[in-house]
């Protein structure tokens, strides 16, 4: 009798507790797909950093009738006939649009490295040192500004590399292995895209080299990923060795060009020493009579990347042209209205408001707001079946616009040096952590508005939804108590303005 009771309750409980267990995805759930278009003219599109698709040179490929090619084809067939389970998994993982996977890897690294340095025992702070990346605090601290830049270089290198690949594909028109030997059944949707050079290898090599520069401690992890990716092209039956070698050459060369720009774009000076940071603060105080202060314990002596606003922009001629006017002075009627709104929300936040605040928070330990938008765009690229070249183009314009938005926003933040609500409103507490930089304008709003404009341009059917998301992301910071409404509203306008510069360029790159 009693045993039965116990068993019944226990069995019921187990079923109840686990009846709704969700499968937890660790990556985008997509398989290879047939591309909506091949963009045969893609080799003539205007790249971002290269002069054109022919700037990087690769060897003229051997003809498919040559012995060299036949040997390579035989090696491919042997590999395909002896696939291990791990090799089959690699084929499934990388798919025929690996641009998406490398973007996903970048987001994961951003989340892994988005950890803020802790104070030392004596109350001081040590900054990550790119010259000694493994020493705590590890380099990098992948905050939103850092991540926006890493993603921009990644996407630009992928895009330029693929323009180059497309140029040679349609210059040489070397067939895919399965078109040379019809006994070969490729693992991916069949396409008439010429095989030389391997677009997958371009993406693998360029992504590896850019991400290794951005996340130096991941060098070995990234090298292993790239090696597996390149090998998978043969295992999948889509590229022979010389396709892959030529693609790899383009990837390596285009990454060099991108990283040469990165070395001199001003990022290394963005995190200033305290005297410079103090002088920036003093200048703002002289100009406007207010200043932002870090409210942490112990106080962080320098805000996050005070000179990120001076980093070289991609498509805006100079940062001043997109700098908004000043915010209302603390204590003014307009300020008091905005402050009261925050206090009213905090007093009685609804479950819906709390969810919006958390949904867009993308704070420490996550892929940041730029990462969030990349993730959404990745899903759209899959939905719209974009080929790798057009995917890379979309990410390139997205991430240039987002990084430019970040540079502009940071310029504004440190130019006006405006206090956060927890500083300006006595006793105010929040449900989100307040970031270590001035309030005006809101980074989330600026990043998101810029991102949504690029989405609206590339996917007109998604424009309304994307802009609504950007508005919600902006609102989320008000609901979280860490931004005033004017930070968010001006940030949205600023992000839209900044994005236009990238979109004007996109409209003239030959892809329309």
């Amino acid at each position: 009798m009693k045993n039965k009771w116990i068993r019944l309750i226990f069995a019921f409980g187990l079923v109840y507790a686990f009846s709704c267990e969700k499968e937890l995805l660790t990556r985008a759930d997509y398989a290879d797909y047939t591309f909506a278009s091949l963009d045969e003219k893609g080799g003539s599109w205007k790249p971002i950093l290269l002069s054109g698709g022919n700037q990087i040179s690769i060897p003229t490929p051997k003809d498919v009738s040559s012995d060299d090619y036949k040997n390579e084809l035989a090696a491919l067939k042997t590999a395909m006939a002896n696939l291990t389970n791990d090799q089959k998994k690699a084929i499934e993982y990388w798919t025929n649009n690996p641009v998406l996977r490398w973007n996903e890897i970048a987001l994961e690294l951003a989340a892994k490295y988005n950890i803020i340095p802790q104070p030392n025992a004596d109350g001081t702070y040590t900054l990550p040192d790119p010259a000694n990346p493994s020493k705590y605090p590890q380099f990098p601290f992948a905050h939103p500004a850092y991540t926006s830049r890493a993603l921009a270089y990644l996407s630009v290198a992928q895009f330029d590399g693929l323009v180059s690949a497309w140029h040679y594909k349609y210059t040489y028109n070397r067939k895919a292995p399965s078109d040379v030997d019809n006994s070969i059944i490729p693992a991916y949707a069949k396409t008439s895209l010429p095989a030389y050079p391997a677009d997958g290898a371009v993406v693998a090599a360029a992504s590896r080299d850019i991400l290794t520069a951005m996340f130096p401690l991941e060098k070995e992890y990234l090298a292993a990923k790239a090696t597996e990716h390149m090998s998978s092209l043969t295992w999948a039956g889509v590229n022979v060795k010389s396709d892959i070698d030529a693609g790899s050459t383009i990837g390596v060369e285009v990454a060099k060009v991108a990283l040469a720009r990165a070395r001199t774009d001003g990022m290394s000076k963005a995190q200033t020493p305290k005297p410079i940071s103090d002088s920036i603060k003093t200048a703002a105080f002289k100009r406007y009579g207010w200043q932002w202060d870090n409210m942490e314990s112990p106080v962080r002596p320098v805000g996050l990347a005070p000179l990120f606003g001076k980093v070289k922009m991609w498509n805006v001629p100079n940062v001043e042209v997109v700098r908004p006017g000043p915010p209302p002075a603390p204590g003014s009627a307009e300020f008091n209205t905005a402050a009261k709104e925050l206090q009213d929300i905090a007093k009685k936040i609804t479950p819906e408001q709390r969810k919006i605040a958390n949904w867009w928070s993308d704070g420490l330990g996550t892929y940041t707001p730029p990462g969030h938008w990349n993730r959404y765009v990745k899903d759209l690229l899959i939905e719209y079946k974009f080929n790798p070249l057009r995917s890379a183009r979309t990410f390139a314009y997205l991430n240039m616009a987002v990084m430019d938005a970040g540079v502009s926003c940071w310029d504004t933040k440190y130019y006006y040096h405006y206090p956060r609500p927890i500083q300006a409103i006595p006793g105010f507490k929040t449900i989100l952590g307040t970031p270590n930089f001035p309030a005006y304008t809101s980074g989330h709003s600026t990043f998101s508005a810029a991102a949504s404009e690029v989405v609206a341009y590339v996917f007109p059917n998604e424009a309304q939804k994307a802009r609504a998301w950007a508005d919600e992301a902006a609102e989320s910071r008000i609901l979280g108590g860490i931004h005033y409404r004017f930070d968010a509203e001006v940030g949205i306008t600023q992000g839209k303005n900044v994005a236009q510069y990238s979109l004007n360029r996109a409209k003239q790159d030959g892809a329309e």
């Binding site: 009693k2 116990i6 507790a17 307040t434």
Partner: protein, 308 residues
């Protein structure tokens, strides 16, 4: 044996997804008679100013001293002399002296459990008893688990199966041990990406299962009116990740702790006007942990018991 608030404390373990943080005697040998009811309420306050980040004990000035208050109404009922039904739901409020994050408060999880005495026999100079408890709990409010350390709970369903073994000498001295397995489900959070030693694209977080150990020695005095006990209790998660340096905890963490405590209770047996009334008080201190605050807590409660 007419004291029943232990049920409550058993229940507190079943209910608390932090794993009986606020239960001083999570398991014992006591059973209510058929058709007896026990109503109880307790108040607990606890705090910490250090926490384990992984296995490293640290401070954080942006939290300062963290505090938690719990009000716990409970109910127990004797279905038969050998089978009891237990239920309860805590109201929890959290706060901190440092930083600018606001505390959380609300009703946590409703727990329901059945406890059965499977064995009770005189062996030598005392009695051996063996009992088992099966329970489950589920969140009853829209609190957020992904707001640690302020979250009031892990916001997931939990199933517990516990075995309790006690030897009680006829002179009132006893020793008891209990072992439980806690199966936890997933917790829905308010974002669809998080990092748990890798990317997760989901609104759900896996909350690790755990084992719960308990040991106690004590004595009943004054004709079974006063009970004094020293106890040890531990919850060890079976999986989970560690809090990353200076990062916030999250429900996927491997949260474990060991604590020691004292417990006392008194029944007003001789006074007819307050027949059925009892009081209790306890203290506990976490002595080791992982991804948990180093809590010290005190609690007190009243119980009232009657027959239908």
């Amino acid at each position: 044996m007419k004291n029943h608030f232990q049920y409550i404390l058993v229940l507190a373990v079943l209910l608390s997804q932090l794993g009986a943080v606020f239960a001083q005697t999570p398991s014992d040998d006591l059973m209510m008679k058929k058709r007896e009811i026990c109503l109880a309420a307790s108040y607990e306050t606890g705090s910490w100013n250090q926490y384990w980040e992984g296995t490293r004990l640290r401070e954080n000035a942006n939290i300062g001293t963290f505090s938690r208050e719990i009000i716990m109404p409970m109910f127990a009922y004797g279905i038969t002399d050998k089978i009891n039904l237990l239920a309860g739901v805590p109201y929890i409020a959290t706060d901190a002296t440092g930083g600018q994050l606001v505390g959380a408060k609300g009703l946590q999880d409703l727990g329901i459990a059945v406890k059965a005495e499977l064995f009770n026999r005189q062996v030598g100079p005392g009695k051996v008893s063996f009992l088992t408890t099966a329970g489950f709990s589920f969140p009853v409010s829209n609190y957020l688990s992904d707001y640690m350390p302020f979250s009031i709970g892990l916001k997931t369903r939990e199933v517990t199966l516990r075995g309790i073994l006690q030897y009680r000498f006829d002179n009132g001295i006893y020793a008891r041990g209990a072992f439980a397995h806690l199966w936890r489900g997933q917790s829905k959070v308010e974002r669809d990406y998080y990092y748990n030693n890798g990317s997760y694209y989901s609104e759900w977080m896996d909350v690790p299962n755990a084992l719960n150990y308990h040991g106690a020695v004590g004595v009943w005095l004054f004709n079974n009116s006063l009970k004094l006990e020293a106890n040890y209790m531990a919850v060890h998660c079976l999986s989970g990740d560690d809090i990353r340096i200076y990062n916030a905890p999250q429900p996927t963490n491997k949260m474990s702790f060991d604590q020691v405590g004292f417990f006392g209770q008194y029944y007003f047996k001789g006074i007819k006007a307050i027949q059925g009334l009892g009081i209790l008080a306890y203290y506990s201190k976490v002595i080791d942990g992982r991804n948990m605050g180093k809590f010290q807590s005190v609690g007190a409660g009243v119980t009232y018991q009657f027959k239908l």
